[in-house]
């Protein structure tokens, strides 16, 4: 059992993986994250509040935190944001996504390293911090603090979608036989 687990995680990406292998993996995962971003634009859910969304792409980032190195996850996340931004968004939307993506990456990495949280908890913190990052950028761009009105909605939506994505990530990691 232990052997098969080791084999499996080596199959994913081990410490001594070649550069070619690492690049290939990161490329495939970036593509997967981009597809998730695209799929999300097709979901016609509209809560009437800008910034409320499922966060499917976070499945790749969050699960990556459990079997990749942090720098690789960050590269995948940043590449996904910039590429989907150019494909489906505009300059401003990249700014919002980057703010949310970077803040949630840092928070999730911290909680992952701190230990004690399952992927669900890490993901809740990620979802909430993502929304807070976007709200802060919106306050800067629109130059008003009145947007704080949206804070309660964004906190709740970040927690709910984060929890959903976190539970799903738990399933994914189980299927990949990555220990967490």
């Amino acid at each position: 059992m232990t052997d098969s687990r080791n084999d499996r995680s080596r199959l994913l990406l081990s410490e001594d993986a070649t550069i070619g292998r690492t690049v290939a993996y990161c490329g495939v995962l970036t593509a997967l994250a981009m597809i998730f971003s695209y799929v999300e634009t097709l979901i016609p859910i509209n809560f009437g509040v800008p910034g409320v969304k499922l966060g499917l792409a976070n499945l790749v980032v969050l699960s990556g935190l459990y079997y990749l190195r942090p720098a690789q996850v960050l590269a995948i996340s940043a590449a996904r944001i910039v590429l989907t931004g150019f494909l489906f968004g505009n300059g401003v939307s990249i700014l919002y996504s980057l703010a949310g993506g970077l803040l949630s990456f840092c928070v999730m990495l911290l909680l992952r390293k701190a230990g004690g949280f399952s992927p669900a908890g890490v993901s809740v913190a990620g979802g909430v911090s993502h929304n807070i990052g976007q709200l802060l950028i919106a306050m800067l761009v629109l130059r008003t603090v009145h947007l704080a009105w949206y804070l309660p909605v964004l906190l709740v939506s970040g927690a709910v979608t984060g929890l959903l994505m976190g539970l799903l990530t738990g399933r994914i990691l189980k299927a990949l036989r990555v220990p967490y």
Partner: protein, 121 residues
């Protein structure tokens, strides 16, 4: 899902509840005006009790604001996501519609609002 996860989620929800309560418990004031703000600069302010159709054209794009029956709503926009048109009407003090791509905020002001005082001077 473990105990720490649950605690964290509960803490976030409680925090959201506290913020919501603080915002909602503010004294209710009579809504009087609707303003459009672009990049933090006031684009225009209109009497909320009037029936008006307003075009908001800036370097970022076009939005159309309809004011009637004491409420306002963005009814047309050429922004990429169109989210501003789906935010419904605003009628109570502090309520707002936001069009992020066009840096636009449409907001209801009440008597005594700082920005309202500034406008009436």
């Amino acid at each position: 899902m473990n105990k720490k996860d649950l605690l964290l989620t509960a803490a976030v929800l409680v925090l959201a509840g506290i913020f919501a309560a603080v915002f909602c418990l503010q004294p209710h004031k009579k809504p009087v005006m609707v303003t459009a703000t672009v990049d933090g600069e006031v684009y225009g302010a209109w009497d909320l009790s009037a029936d008006l159709e307003v075009d908001i054209d800036t370097e970022y794009g076009h939005n159309h604001l309809s004011i009637r029956d004491g409420s306002a709503q963005i009814t047309e926009a050429d922004c990429p996501d169109g989210l501003c048109m789906h935010q419904g009407t605003v009628r109570e003090g502090g309520e707002m519609n936001v069009c992020l791509p066009h840096h636009l905020i449409v907001e209801v002001l009440t008597e005594g609002d700082e920005s309202y005082d500034g406008l009436s001077q």
